[in-house]
Symmetry: C2
Subunit: 178 residues, 2 copies
DNA sequence: AGCTACATGTAACGAGTTACATGATTAT
DNA sequence: ATAATCATGTAACTCGTTACATGTAGCT
């Protein structure tokens, strides 16, 4: 149910169209909650139906009309109630590890190259995050409470990528032996 | 599609009933691929229908009959083909971070307590993993290729939990300031 | 008498993915 | 010309969760 809550949290700051939300999710929100354009549109429909958000059609010149969504009081209440409930750590489902478990069926080089590919992907992502960190959060102690919260989600992304890079390095070293 | 492949990989070593597979998933496989009993039974049905696995009914005394599944040649081919395809890193969807983003709506103590709860959960899980590591993998360099692969999934679990604990500590420190 | 383990499923629903569908404007 | 961006959706399908359904054996 957390996609609905992620959208409500995002709409707490300002109004978004479905398209704007999707861009926001593609850039920033994906560090902690990935969603496709189709999922976002569907969820917006459901949220509007139950009165958690309201929309207004904005006519634009030279561009298609857009539906601007804002959170309602009811939506804010739904979000607050959810915040008070405990959340469990999310389920882990990592394809690369399934491949590692089945690795003996293919030549060793296949799995080593796949791990190397992942190492590169995570290294690339880490450098993107570190750039964002330097640009937007040069001094974490100077941040407001809200900014600190935002910074923490980025820090989680950084930790996660760093952890993967270390694992890939260890894995390549261990499997390359002998 | 990776649940099917995880089941095929597990059946590569020996035969399992649906119930046995579920126990295996609950104990070991959950480090890298979480699945419920219902999902496993459904997937077994699908895999048998397409000929990737075959079953045999075992009559037992004093216990219900069970269906023992084994992987077929076709199933092994499906698994090999999948191993040769590249896999992308999995999507991140972490409720705790959504709560952090929306934290300003509730008293600060709510989010601090929630992070503390997660810190405890991850600390507990880490100690379970470390015990398994000491018991089953005291000397990683002495392991066979297959055992190394198995060990690497455990290492990933250990890294992941450690990384979360560090993040929780940092988050509590940063949000407690002032 | 009640709980846990063994053993297999069906049904309904919610969430995530992929493909299809439309159409204008702006940049190369 | 054609690709990218803006903008919103429907439809079909697969995957994940929750509830329901049934029944035996062994332990406390």
């Amino acid at each position: 149910m957390a996609l609905a809550h992620t959208i409500l949290a995002t709409l707490g700051d300002k109004s978004y169209s479905g398209y704007d939300l999707w861009k926001e999710f593609s850039q920033t929100t994906k560090y902690y909650w990935q969603a496709s354009q189709q999922q976002i549109y569907r969820e917006l429909g459901k949220l509007e139906k139950k009165g958690a958000i309201a929309s207004e059609i904005i006519h634009q010149e030279g561009r298609p009309d857009k539906k601007l969504y804002r959170i309602t009081e009811k939506g804010t209440e739904i979000l607050k109630t959810w915040l008070l409930e405990p959340a469990e750590p999310m389920a882990i489902r990592e394809e690369l590890l399934v491949k590692v478990i089945a690795a003996k069926l293919v030549p060793k080089s296949v799995i080593l190259q796949e791990i190397e590919r992942h190492r590169q992907i995570h290294t690339q992502q880490l450098s993107v995050y570190k750039e964002i960190e330097q640009e937007n959060f040069p001094d974490p102690t100077e941040l407001s409470f809200e900014e600190k919260c935002c910074y923490l989600t980025l820090r989680c992304g950084i930790r996660c990528e760093s952890s993967w890079i270390t694992w890939c390095n260890d894995a390549i070293a261990l499997l390359s032996e002998e």
